[in-house]
Symmetry: C2
Subunit: 579 residues, 2 copies
């Protein structure tokens, strides 16, 4: 079969582009109207895009709340298993069943789009539009995050320069700068050089905008006032006595809030089948919670019957943070979870295939091998269990790829059935919403089992559990570790934060997303290992503690042939090379 | 008189804010419709703001071209003489006379707004709206310029890192990075530190976004294809043989163009009296030409009867570049010029008052002193002559301030009459368009004297004049210098550019805007001095050579109490402290 001899990606990038180009956008006001948003809260921002003013939350407060669905996945292969396409396909499927359904997604980062990976707007017949605007700038929210973040950085260095009170220790400044580009040369630098009038020399660096704590704050704030409060709590460094200094003390939090006023309004777009799509905020999935915004979900929940939101990476990563960080911050509880699997990821987790990030998956993954699917199933079963650890039984979505064999799909169904989980094949990439109708039906059934007032959902740990125990609970209960090894000084550091009142915060463990463990080479559901925590940091503004269990790169680089070299305009002014 | 005992600013910042807050914006579609723009070319971007697609140029190509008016000024005092308010007041005055008139302005830079100076949206009853959006982000054009600029920078460092061909010399890279903030600590830095995987260590730095050559390119491009061509010509550094390396060779120009596609569309807004305002591009007024975009002017000229555009700083600076750089690039010729003067600036130029930038003007400027006005008049007469050097006789607008005395205004009128120039008092800040009706009538009369086909306008120098002679002609003919002293090596450098075909480019002299000379302390119309040119640079993308005749700072710093510390939201979520 020729489709198997090549890259098993279901739709080639050029197919995505031609499908997107052939699509006719509906006026965004029409999408907003069908979603029931008050007209005065809808502010068009170019063709097919609007911002939703937060007054919509008040206007819709009395409307019944829709069903809240999170899409997560098994531990992914490097190219990913299609959570975004599945979330988009699912709302299109729900729409075909007559429901008003909205999808809530993160905004993709521009840097990687210009670097290696191409855009992040779905694929095939499950895409959000307009692709070009989503992948580049959109309505400028990422730029606003960078501006607010870097204003604080400039004010911190200005604070040093003018020796303002409280006196900062130049070597204890933890607030870096950010830019939405892959620019390795900015990772480590010495700034403040020149003469006496050019600042105080010190080490510094840039991270990509998605890694900014301001981005995490934007995603977790539930109002403008809450945004203001969180920004004030951002810690920029230590004073001469070792006490934390905040953005409030630097005098930056008000101006940062004003810079983020437009960015706090969720962006409304549409899928290929004109289902509403809210694309808003894009925090990192390792050092932050990797979920789109609370305000977008909240608005959508009071407007739609179903809101489907995607959580970054696997159920142990974005899924866990959705439950324990995002839902804890919002007070919203999910009604159902969808767990995306693919035949190829199941085979990948059997550990017999060599996969190189940035390269097509090996053709060995294409041979019919239901036994490999079963062998790799340990990962799926563990991730199903990870969702169940929060009181929800997921619906498994088998995201169909052209190279899949019926025997392999059957193996997945069998595995799921063995643990009482419903699994549905979804061909939304090839068929759009029609291909996701079976999945949508399964989902509706799953949510019907959940009575609004006797919700089974629960957090993995209570607020009052000590920080060390929170980290251990995630590591042992979700990752399958035998325990946690804290580097010297970490326990003391966590205890000092508890003494300052930060002990009630949830935790976020920054590790590879390629394994349930901290080691990307350990596939399936590894046993007999311990999680090493080498460092902990406090995101006091966003409201979580994060523990580093791996080498997390917060500023990517470009390869020798970046995507940007192939992006251009043609003679008619159309964009080429961006997908 | 109590109004004289305080800061003589005509409307206090809080007045500006309360006037702006009380205003009711018309739907921007209504403004666009009255301007005759085709509906499909108008893309709303939030309340009261739209982008105009460049298809409007084609759609309007057959419409008659309106009158093209440039607003310039005498050499300003530190707080400025109100060119922006005059341009806005003038279109409101023209509108009261029944004309369709549009104002075309630069987009203010965000960094200084958060630093010292407050916003740049006019004042009193001559403002453009919405103020907050204009001063912060607007539609993201400055962010797009920074993204395109910094993408090229990242690709240059990536080029070094991977040792791609042509091989760049790390010490000959001239392409800096940019950010739209006042951040002195980024002026000089060493980047590429860390390990082998973190780039090549070298010196670098950041400038403010307005100083980016990409900004100058955006303002001068007359189509998307022209933008693409100019970006390709940007010079990033030298190769190992000392030959220039361009953005085209780095492979960045296509992606930069795509990043700027939305930014190339002019922004449409409105004045307090609902006159159309096109706010687009904001290049520096010293190292670049300091004028708003050609595409905005071109679209407006085919839609309105009168287009009034502001050129940065005095007639020797932005005015000169409007005539010799912007009009040369566009092929458009101006029909009239307005030269803004104030009583206080006339007195300032008599040289008897000590004015400190960033502080209120001294109260000594408020005493009735028509003799001082006459003494300072040398500057006005020279700037009138500078406009006349291009074939146009300006209309002088006396921008009224509360502290002005009738005898002083009469002195200005007398001085102008002595050289055959009409001068009108304009109270547009206090009275809106009604206060500018006399000025508008004088302007209409001035343009009626200009027959479209026998236009008196001409450039100061022809393309083929050698670069050295172009610099000398501007210095001697406009600035009043006795000659130019070129630092060693400059003449050779200019000759080498001529040998490469750059000799046909116009020149831009970067000097202080506070004096006709290069020395801010020399007021009036100084004689007996020579212009020192210490360095020349080639803006091959924008299409001009610039000569540095002073210490031009391209990255401002913050003072010990930046404006940002006073910007915040109030309990209702309204922005406070931004004006």
């Amino acid at each position: 079969m020729p489709t198997q001899a090549t890259d098993p990606t279901p739709a080639q990038p050029n197919d995505n582009l031609s499908i997107a180009r052939a699509a006719r956008l509906w006026p965004i006001e029409e999408i907003a109207h069908r979603l029931g948003l008050p007209g005065e809260a809808v502010e068009p921002y170019g063709r097919g895009i609007a911002k939703i003013d937060l007054t919509a939350m008040t206007a819709l407060a009395e409307s019944p709340r829709g069903r809240y669905v999170v899409v997560t996945s098994m531990t992914p292969t490097p190219p990913g298993e299609g959570k975004t396409t599945t979330a988009i396909g699912l709302v299109q499927g729900l729409q075909r069943l007559g429901h008003c359904a909205a999808v809530a997604l993160r905004q993709p980062s521009m840097g990687p789009t210009l670097g290696l990976k191409g855009g992040a707007t779905g694929g095939g017949h499950s895409q959000v539009l307009p692709m070009e605007r989503i992948n580049l700038h959109l309505t400028g929210d990422l730029h606003a995050v960078a501006a607010a973040h870097n204003l604080l950085a400039a004010m911190v260095d200005n604070h040093l320069h003018h020796r303002l009170a409280p006196e900062l220790s130049p070597r204890d400044i933890c607030w870096q700068r950010v830019i939405d580009l892959n620019d390795r040369a900015l990772r480590h630098l010495v700034l403040g050089l020149g003469g006496r009038g050019d600042g105080v020399p010190r080490q510094g660096g840039f991270e990509i905008t998605a890694a900014s704590e301001v981005m995490a704050v934007l995603a977790l704030a539930d109002s403008l006032a809450d945004l203001r409060k969180r920004l004030g709590r951002l810690i920029v460094g230590l004073d001469r006595d070792g006490e934390p200094v905040t953005a409030e003390q630097i005098g930056a939090a008000g101006a940062m809030t004003v810079l983020l006023k437009e960015a706090l309004k969720p962006n409304l777009l549409q899928t290929l089948e004109h289902a509403p799509a809210l694309i808003h905020a894009g925090p990192f999935g390792n050092i932050a919670h990797g979920n789109s915004s609370i305000v977008a979900d909240r608005i959508a929940l009071h407007a739609a019957d179903f809101v489907v939101t995607e959580a970054g990476f696997g159920a142990d990563m974005g899924g866990e943070r959705f439950f324990n960080i995002k839902c804890r911050a919002s007070g919203l509880t999910p009604d159902a979870a969808v767990l995306v699997v693919t035949v190829r990821a199941m085979k990948y987790h059997c550990g017999q295939h060599r996969v190189i990030p940035g390269q097509p998956l090996p053709t060995s993954l294409l041979a019919e091998a239901p036994g490999e699917v079963m062998a790799g199933g340990a990962n799926l079963l563990k991730q199903i269990d990870n969702v169940r650890a929060h009181g929800l039984t997921p619906v498994v979505a088998i995201n169909a790829f052209p190279g899949d064999h019926p025997s392999e799909v059957a193996a997945i169904r069998e595995l799921c059935a063995s643990v009482g989980v419903r699994a549905e094949l979804s061909t939304h990439v090839r068929d759009g919403g029609e291909g996701a109708v079976a999945l949508a039906e399964a989902l509706v059934e799953a949510t019907e089992g959940v009575a609004a007032d006797t919700d089974a959902f629960h957090y993995l740990y209570p607020d009052e559990l000590p920080l060390v125990d929170k980290i251990e609970r995630i590591a042992t209960r979700l990752y399958g570790a035998d325990g946690v090894d804290f580097a010297p000084g970490i326990r003391e550091r966590l205890a000092s934060w508890e003494a300052r009142g930060y002990g009630v915060l949830p935790v976020c463990i920054a590790k590879t997303h390629m394994s349930l463990s901290h080691d990307a080479r350990l596939l399936g559901a590894p046993n007999g290992w311990r999680l090493p925590v080498r460092e902990v940091r406090l995101s006091a503004g966003a409201g979580f503690v994060y523990a580093l269990a791996g080498d997390i790169r917060t500023m990517p680089g470009l390869n020798a042939s970046p995507a940007a070299t192939r992006i251009d305009i043609d003679d008619e002014g159309n964009t080429v090379g961006l997908y």
